[in-house]
């Protein structure tokens, strides 16, 4: 399959299928995240990249036999390894034995949050989630370091001209998007704060929020989006998310408990847990949304810069051709 566009679309379908598989496996939180991330953001980023790097694959490699051999040997070894494993769905498998019953049985008394996944993510294993938030932040910084473009300030007349021409071309979807985007943002807030009682939480909310902003950017132009959403403000939000998370941990340390031990935040331990979980989910949501927006803006700005460079080079070549033609014409 040489057309990378079709490959990326199939990858999106694969992400959606695996999300529905996760629903069949009773993993609703994971299905939510995979549908938002794998079928949405990942496909979008890859499409932006293949618009910059070329749509067709140029194959010159003709030696798949050694790769097939390696893959076959590894596959057989792995299948041999699975013969010892417990059967699918068995209730007495080793992984259901040690820690999980404690989480399931004691989560209501110790934390008081119905969604066990949120309570494990935000309270029992808050340290791992802290590491994850820092990894996301680092990825955002990395993309900024690789792809940031110094932009010249655009005059508002150019922006208005682009806006008017785009408005006529894409009338229907711009109006529908203007109706829908507030609801998408509202849904993101709902998912953020409802993560205690149903599937949801910081990650999904952040991704949905970023998806709404990216929809706005795609339809109304990068320049308009930049005047609406200030770049330095978004970077500040990303940093504030990580800081919020870390300072909750620091506050628990200073109040006399362990790192991320929310019981000591407020007098009542259950209320302390609720407060701690809400604060760190807020931090996670802020960072994830801001980093996704930063990544998309960096890619889009780079694509715009490449287009402008190509246009400038074409204009220069045209001027050279005109100069070469003039002495011969007169």
């Amino acid at each position: 399959m040489k057309d990378l566009f079709a490959v990326v679309m199939l990858l999106g379908i694969y992400g959606l299928l695996s999300a529905s598989f996760f629903v069949a496996m009773d993993a609703v939180d994971v299905a939510f995240t995979e549908a938002a991330v794998g079928a949405g953001i990942s496909t979008l980023l890859m499409l932006v990249v293949i618009s910059m790097t070329g749509r067709r694959e140029i194959t010159t490699r003709h030696k798949p036999m050694s790769a097939l051999l390696v893959v076959a040997i590894t596959g057989f070894l792995l299948i041999y390894g699975t013969l010892d494993m417990p059967y699918f769905g068995s209730a007495d498998a080793p992984i259901h034995g040690h820690v999980a019953p404690r989480y399931i049985n004691d989560s209501m008394q110790e934390i008081g949050v119905p969604n066990i996944v949120t309570s494990v993510l935000a309270s029992y294993r808050a340290f791992d989630t802290f590491g994850e938030v820092v990894v996301i932040f680092t990825a955002g910084i990395g993309v900024l370091a690789l792809l940031s473009v110094v932009r010249r300030p655009e005059d508002p007349e150019e922006i208005a001209a682009i806006n008017d021409s785009m408005h006529e071309q894409h009338l229907v979807i711009r109006i529908v998007a203007k109706i829908l985007i507030p609801f998408i943002l509202l849904f993101a807030l709902y998912v953020q704060f409802h993560g205690d009682f149903g599937p949801g939480g910081g990650f999904q909310a952040g991704v949905i929020f970023a998806a709404a902003i990216i929809l706005y950017t795609m339809l109304f132009g990068l320049s308009t989006a930049r005047t609406v959403i200030n770049q330095s403000f978004i970077r500040l939000i990303a940093a504030i998310g990580v800081l919020l998370y870390g300072s909750v941990g620091l506050a628990t340390l200073l109040s006399g408990g362990n790192f991320f031990d929310y019981n000591v935040l407020v007098n009542d331990p259950i209320a302390g847990q609720h407060l701690g979980i809400m604060l760190i989910e807020l931090g996670v949501g802020c960072t994830v949304a801001a980093v996704m927006i930063i990544i998309f803006f960096s890619f889009a700005a780079r694509a715009e810069m490449q287009l402008n460079n190509k246009k400038q080079r074409q204009d220069k070549d045209k001027d050279k051709d005109n100069k070469n033609k003039e002495p011969s014409s007169c």
């Binding site: 894409h170 229907v172 529908v176 109706i179 829908l180």
Partner: protein, 114 residues
């Protein structure tokens, strides 16, 4: 009363799944991109609307009902929009629709006279 609710909900669900199946078969069997898109649009909009109405009839609580209504509104708004955007993108990039063989007497006359 229970029997009526159950039967009507079952009927809506059955119609919805039948429409989805039709959409799937249509996507495989239609000859052209634009006709295939119509099949996908049917699945998206009407199929899911019927299934949601069937679920709404047997919904257990007021909150569930309201959530299903919102999903239905969203689906009705987004389905035709995506079909429209796909068709516009395809036309913009030069994909011509497969038109039928037209027996037009005016063009035949023009060809014979020119």
């Amino acid at each position: 009363m229970d029997i009526v609710i159950n039967i009507s909900s079952g009927l809506c669900l059955f119609i919805g799944s039948f429409l989805c199946l039709c959409g799937g078969v249509g996507m495989l069997r239609f000859p052209d991109f634009y006709t295939r898109m119509h099949a996908a649009g049917v699945t998206d909009t009407l199929g899911s609307a019927m299934i949601l109405i069937g679920l709404m009839i047997i919904s257990t609580g007021f909150l569930v009902f309201i959530k299903l209504v919102m999903i239905l509104l969203l689906g009705i708004l987004i389905g035709p929009t995506t079909s429209h955007v796909l068709a516009k993108a395809a036309l913009h990039n030069g994909l011509e629709p497969l038109l039928g063989h037209e027996e037009d007497p005016d063009t035949d006359n023009k060809e014979t006279t020119s």
